[in-house]
């Protein structure tokens, strides 16, 4: 009843309880909010890193302490002695100090007086000036009126001036005050310097001690800031408080580190915003080499010379991290920064360790470590030779070599022409049967051919498809022979010489710069790349576990520029081979094969040698034959795609068998895109048939068709890997018409090749970078890049070492001195003018070399761009240089002449038409050529240390006397006064020697001489080679 009377409903005690409980929960939820806001992952790492930092600093301190162990006491003693001395004078000093204080007081007063007066003067000055101005205004006014009488009153304004007198008076006073002030000032300075002098020695010793202990003190200070146990109590407290939740906005120790890279843009589709990288919130040791061996995430960057550090070309402040590595730079956790595992094992490890899962909805996940080099491409797309970018470079080279960019347009990496030979006049070279067998399975003829395999793949190896394939091959082959089969195989003696000699020539003249003749199981390196992808169960497959497995890298690739020449005997006839090696451009005008200018005999011999290689297995295979029914069937199916049945019937009925064959062939050629790699009649304007890959690295994974394959990672790189390992895999379990099947052929890439190509593809992104960061924009003369490209495309590095890479010929030739010259420092070495002429018309430089520089069909522009590329590599200007003038009267020159005497250069070097003293095997370039050919500063460097520039060169460094030698008694006699006048300056002496060499005159071109010499004497140093006629002047 009371309840009712109170107009109540609830039991208030119960409500109180409810209220209390809910309020407590409410409070707890706030506590949780703050906890949640402070449990960031990076703080955990920063705590760990702090421990590590203390550890490392302590170790450093230890070593620093042991470093100073020896003399520390000594320094301290010295200091203490001085301190004692100082203390003994302390009474005097104290009195001086007291005096100083007193004088300072006087000075202060005097200075104040002076300043006050000065202020007064300034004011009076202003007032006085103002007065003058007004007076003048006034007088001008009357001037104009030409009423002089009135002006006169004001004419001498000085007499009437209100301020003039005051001003000058004040100045006088101020001057006096200034003198007083300065007096005291001098006194102060005097006393101060006295005191300073008395303490100077002490300070000196103290500085010395500090200097000696600098390292120790530095580390000590650091530790004091880091190690809480070593702090004062208040600092400990402060250190604790600064990172408390809520209070951590004032001066937190644990905080997000970030860099805003203004030149690296993150694309939000409507706009580009500077990228923000917070990676260093966890990767705390990234720029500090002390943490080289620290565990992740504290490890320092493995290549600090190139990256991160502020003196490297890619300082962290400008580039951040995601510019190369991609990923979600704003993330502050392991998952939220979208780390990507490189392998299933790593994925598993991460899942356990970091609770890793892929963060969807981020378009640029971090590149797995093995693909990091993909990041280089977006800025360095123009430099194909990129130190540290080996994998990317290999990938790009493979794309070129395999002709990926023939079928797939890549705007940023375009094909330089068709990668396969022309098929326009095949009847000169091959017969139909061979072609049919080849198309059906190129790898059965040449296991490592660049020609990919279209047939017998996982989506077309069923019975029906094979039947269809055979008919298609038949039709294509027939189409390729509009004028009928190759008629006769001309293996007459006219084209066949001595095979044995051919072999020697093959090894000697330089064929092996680009070609090998290797059957499949040569014993080469071990394999450590497991093949974990779906691979094609049909056709050829490189056996990664086999003994003969050769791992592919950029260097190995050099020798596969041209085809592996096995089985030539089963392929074509002597006539064709002879003509081909004699004049490759006649059969294939765009070929990259240079003309070696072989003589008739040489060509014959090499032809004979090549014909000795046969492939019986291939010969025994049976070529596909005509299958009328299937051909009609194929034609009908294609037609049905575009025409109604009635029309198809009508059309077919009017078509002859040949017409049907042609129709099938054309459809198939279009379908497979044969014309993208080969020149073919009727397809001059054919377009690439594959998907454009220009931005493939940025393609969202949802745009890639995984088909029914669910057990590979759902990432772009996994898809690329799988596609390259088995191009037809995504048709698996799909029901697809023959005409719609995926058709990318199988290149039978090796795992490491796949990795490299995927790296390159991942590099083809649409990420925007400011122009100032793209290397292409940093070079004024863009033809440099054309040069680089030519050097790459034409495999110059197959024979020459350029930028410390290449020169694979050495492996074949054996002796480094017999190999084509090392072209390191070429840009600094030769004069562009000379080099250009040499390219156009190679003259003999190294008389002892048998290997010859072939003639490339380059235009002048192309040659120039190659020269520019060389110069760019050595950071030389691109101008044509003036010839170098030598002062033959200078002491330097005379000293050089003296040195030259001792050097006995003429033992090996030609001096114009003057032959060297020694035998041909040590013959070296004509020194009369030097002036035109070489750059002065390079020659100086070269003479200083030839081995440094060209390792393995036979050139000995000339003897240059050092200062000790020159201080010997008989030095003047031995070396002459000119040399002595250089005071043992090595540089000057080298310059003098160079100057002398530059003065050597004589015939520039000695090719004929040398040729004649060998004609008479033969290659006496190389008994294997018999008489050769040196018609050409190219070696």
């Amino acid at each position: 009843m009371t309840h009712k009377n109170d107009e109540r409903y609830w039991n208030i005690k119960k409500l109180n309880k409810w209220f209390a409980i809910s309020s407590i929960l409410f409070l707890l939820s706030y506590v949780w909010i703050f906890y949640h806001d402070n449990d960031d992952e990076f703080k955990q790492y920063q705590r760990e890193f702090r421990k590590l930092e203390i550890e490392v600093s302590n170790k450093k301190l230890e070593s620093a302490l042991s470093d100073v162990q020896d003399q520390r006491v000594e320094y301290e003693e010295k200091y203490n002695i001085e301190l004692d001395k100082y203390n003994s004078k302390i009474v005097e000093i104290d009195s001086l100090k007291a005096n100083l204080d007193y004088t300072k007081g006087l000075f202060y007063k005097a200075n104040m007086d002076y300043l006050f007066k000065k202020a007064e003067v300034d004011e009076l000055k202003y007032l006085y000036e103002d007065e003058i101005v007004h007076f003048e205004d006034y007088s001008h006014k009357y001037d104009n009126d030409e009423d002089h009488s009135k002006v006169e009153v004001h004419h001498d304004h000085n007499s009437n001036s209100e301020y003039r007198e005051k001003y000058y008076e004040s100045i006088e006073l101020m001057k006096n005050l200034k003198i007083i002030k300065e007096k005291y000032e001098l006194q102060v300075l005097d006393i101060e310097s006295t005191i300073k002098n008395m303490g100077a020695e002490l300070k000196n010793k103290k500085d010395e001690l500090n200097e000696y202990l600098k390292e120790v003190n530095l580390i000590n200070n650091k530790i004091l800031k880091l190690d809480r146990t070593k702090m004062t109590f208040m600092n400990q407290l402060g250190d604790l408080v600064r990172d408390l939740p809520i209070l951590d906005f004032m001066d937190p120790y644990y905080k997000v580190n970030q860099v805003v890279a203004h030149d690296i843009k993150y694309d939000v589709n409507f706009a580009q915003v500077p990228s923000v990288d917070r990676c260093t919130s966890c990767h705390l040791g990234i720029s500090n080499p002390d943490y080289k061996d620290a565990p992740q995430p504290f490890t320092s960057h493995p290549n600090l010379d190139l990256f991160v550090s502020s003196s490297s070309p890619h300082p962290f402040e400008q580039y951040g991290c995601t510019s190369c590595h991609s990923g979600r730079g704003r993330g502050t956790g392991f998952v939220s920064s979208v780390h990507m595992p490189g392998s299933p094992e790593q994925k598993k490890e991460w899942e356990e360790k970091y609770d890793w899962k892929k963060m969807h909805h981020w378009l640029q996940p971090m590149l797995p470590t093995k693909y990091t080099q993909a990041g280089c491409f977006k800025c360095h797309e123009a430099d194909p030779i990129l130190a540290g970018g080996e994998k990317l470079a290999l990938g790009l080279m493979l794309i070129d070599q395999s002709g990926c960019n023939n079928c797939h347009h890549i705007e940023s990496y375009q094909a330089m022409g068709k990668s396969g030979p022309p098929l326009t006049h095949l009847d000169e070279k091959l017969d139909k049967d061979w072609v049919k067998k080849w198309i059906k399975n190129p790898q059965s003829f040449r296991y490592n051919t660049w020609m990919p395999h279209f047939f017998d793949q996982s989506n077309n190896s069923d019975e029906e498809s094979v039947k269809r394939s055979n008919a298609t091959i038949y039709a294509i082959t027939e189409y390729l022979y509009p004028d009928g089969d190759k008629e006769n195989f001309d293996n007459s003696n006219e084209f066949i010489g001595d095979a044995e000699n051919g072999q020697k020539l093959f090894n000697a003249v330089g064929c092996q710069g680009c070609h090998v003749i290797e059957t499949e199981s040569t014993e080469l390196g071990d394999v450590d790349v497991p093949y974990e992808m779906y691979i094609s169960n049909h056709g050829y497959e490189p056996d990664t576990s086999g003994v003969g497995y050769e791992k592919m890298d950029r260097y190995t690739l050099l020798k596969y520029q041209g085809p592996n020449l096995i089985g030539m005997g089963s392929k074509s006839d002597a006539k064709w081979i002879y003509n081909w090696i004699k004049h490759p451009e006649k059969y294939w005008p765009d070929t990259k094969m240079p003309n070696l200018r072989l003589t008739h005999e040489e060509a014959k011999d090499i032809t004979a040698y090549l014909l000795t290689f046969e492939n019986e297995e291939f010969e025994d295979e049976i070529a596909v034959t005509e299958d009328r029914e299937e051909l009609n069937n194929i034609a009908r199916r294609w037609m049905m795609k575009s025409f109604p049945k009635v029309e198809v019937d009508a059309r077919l009925s009017t078509m002859s068998d040949a017409a049907i064959d042609e129709y099938v062939a054309k459809k198939s050629i279009n379908y497979y895109g044969c014309y993208t790699c080969h020149d073919m009649d009727g397809y001059e304007n054919g377009k690439p048939i594959g998907a454009e890959l220009t931005y493939e690295g940025s393609v969202p994974v949802s745009k890639l068709d995984f088909g029914h394959i669910h057990d590979i990672d759902h990432t772009t790189h996994a898809w690329f890997e799988q596609k390259l390992a088995n191009p037809r895999i995504f048709d698996k379990h799909k029901i697809v018409a023959h005409e719609d099947k995926s058709r990318m052929p199988n290149f039978y890439f090796k795992p490491e090749e796949i990795e490299a190509i995927v790296t390159a593809i991942l590099g083809f992104t649409n990420v925007k970078i400011a122009d100032s960061k793209i290397t292409y924009n940093l070079v004024d003369d863009k033809s440099v890049f054309e040069g680089y490209k030519l050097i790459n495309q034409y495999n110059c590095q197959g024979c020459h070492v350029i930028e410390n890479f290449g020169g694979h010929m050495v492996d074949v030739i054996g002796k480094i001195e017999n190999a084509p010259p090392n072209l390191n420092t070429q840009g600094a070495k030769t004069q562009p003018d000379w080099l250009f002429n040499f390219f156009k018309n190679p003259a003999t430089i190294r008389p002892h070399l048998q290997v010859r520089m072939p003639a490339f069909k380059f235009t002048d522009g192309q040659w120039n761009s190659i020269i520019k590329a060389f110069q760019h590599l050595d950071e030389r200007s691109l101008l044509i240089e003036d010839s170098f003038a030598v002062d033959i009267n200078s002491a330097k020159f005379k000293a050089g002449a003296k040195l030259h005497e001792f050097g006995a250069c003429n033992n090996c070097h030609f001096y114009g038409d003057q032959f060297p003293k020694q035998t041909p095997e040590t013959w070296a370039p004509n020194l009369a050529m030097t002036k035109e050919r070489l750059r002065h500063d390079w020659v100086v460097r070269w003479l200083d240390n030839p081995q440094a520039i060209m390792p393995g060169t036979k050139m000995p460094a000339p003897y240059i006397p050092d200062s000790i030698t020159l201080s010997l008694d008989n030095a003047l006699e031995t070396w002459g006064k000119d040399l002595m006048s250089l005071d043992g300056n090595r540089q000057a002496m080298l310059e003098g020697l160079t100057d002398y060499i530059y003065s050597i005159e004589g015939s520039k071109d000695i090719s004929t001489l040398v040729k004649e010499y060998f004609k008479i004497n033969g290659y006496e140093f190389d008994t294997d080679v018999e008489e050769d006629d040196f018609e050409d002047e190219d070696w």
Binding site: D6, F19, F26, N269, H361, W362
Partner: protein, 372 residues
């Protein structure tokens, strides 16, 4: 075993089946007439609204979600941050429907016994707002805030890729509360599903108090006194709104194709979409003629059907079956009710026409953007 269960659920959740089943069961669950009510009680469906029934509902829903969580495909959908409110919606809708119905049944029993409903109290016997109401409101808000904070801490708000007008995600969905409308778009042209229907929904909802002339059941839960009202409202609410949202969220995958909850969202899945207009049915299939070139003639049959449905049918009904109602409502209210009711009914009708006859448009004049 579980696989069979999953497959069964996948199969049953197909719109054709699930919608039919729900629609068919609905009058038995919320019986609008005595006949349905009798069956309802015979089948003990009314036990659904007891504590046991509520518990079973809870177990079933939870069981479904637990099962779903175990399934890799459904887990992906379930774990999307923005789908969490829908789980919350399923639970809260089920709970509050159950709770309201439970109270209604209790009240109904009391009314049968001649008692006043539970909510009734002596009008003189009032309660002061301070502290009783203020206090419980206060507690309620605090608890709710706790819930919201905990939810916010546990579930991060979703954020996808930066907006990109060039890349349409598949499927691209409206916010969950509009998914009912988006689902309607499958069956109707945008001007109907996106403009006319929403407008009519809002207008119709506003009009409820003016249409419902049943004076009873004001201020207390009661089913018996407002059977038809409950039935229509619950059908529109639960089936045509909430159910469609659930479909739209959980069962609509790439290309707006239907996927069972435990099915993989395969972007390649294809469904037959051979839709035919009524005009084609009439002229081409029925009469074996080409379509007339005159648009109005071509669509005359559609106009006829629509006209009959919208204008003749109400008149006929008013004269026959709904005579009493017409008299009670008067012409204006009756017309209004008919327009709203027929429009609402049009949705299931069109759905069935689509499913069983592949009917695309009753009136199809794409030339004028006028399709029904």
């Amino acid at each position: 075993m579980i696989e069979t269960l999953k497959n069964t659920i996948d199969y049953l959740s197909t719109p054709t089946i699930s919608f039919t089943v729900i629609t068919a069961i609905f009058p038995f669950v919320f019986p609008p007439t005595d006949w349905f009510d009798r069956i309802n009680r015979k089948l003990k469906i009314d036990k659904l609204w007891t504590n046991t029934g509520g518990f079973i509902q809870f177990i079933l829903i939870t069981g479904f979600f637990v099962l779903g969580y175990q399934d890799p495909n459904f887990k992906i959908i379930l774990m999307k941050g923005d789908n969490f409110p829908i789980v919350l919606m399923v639970y809260s809708m089920a709970f509050f429907t159950w709770y309201a119905m439970k109270k209604s049944y209790i009240n109904d029993a009391r009314l049968d016994e001649g008692k006043k409903p539970m909510e009734y109290h002596d009008p003189e016997d009032k309660v002061l707002v301070w502290p009783d109401l203020v206090y419980i409101e206060f507690i309620c808000l605090i608890l709710f805030m706790v819930f919201l904070i905990v939810w916010s801490i546990l579930v991060p708000a979703p954020l996808e890729e930066p907006a990109n007008p060039a890349a349409t995600p598949n499927p691209s969905k409206a916010p969950w509360y509009f998914l009912g409308l988006q689902e309607m778009l499958v069956y109707f042209d945008p001007w109907l599903a996106g403009v006319i229907f929403p407008t009519l929904i809002i207008v119709g909802m506003c009009a409820i108090p003016y249409i419902d002339i049943n004076k009873k059941g004001d201020g207390y839960y009661s089913f018996k006194e407002r059977r038809v009202g409950y039935f229509i409202f619950m059908y529109g609410w639960v089936v045509l709104w909430v159910y469609l949202i659930i479909i739209g969220t959980f069962f609509r995958g790439p290309n707006w194709n239907f996927f069972g909850p435990f099915e993989y969202w395969d972007p390649h899945k294809l469904e037959v979409l051979n839709n035919v207009n009524l005009s084609e049915y009439f002229w081409v299939i029925g009469l074996g003629q080409p379509l007339p070139s005159n648009i109005l003639l071509r669509e005359s049959i559609g106009f006829l059907v629509t006209g009959i449905y919208l204008f003749v049918l109400p008149v006929l009904l008013a004269k026959t079956v709904l005579k009493k109602m017409y008299e009670a409502y008067g012409p204006t209210r009756y017309t209004f009710l008919m327009i709203l009711g027929l429009t609402m009914l049009a949705l299931p009708i069109k759905m069935y026409l689509r499913w069983f006859f592949n009917l695309k448009y009753i009136i199809g004049i794409p030339e004028w953007f006028f399709n029904i």
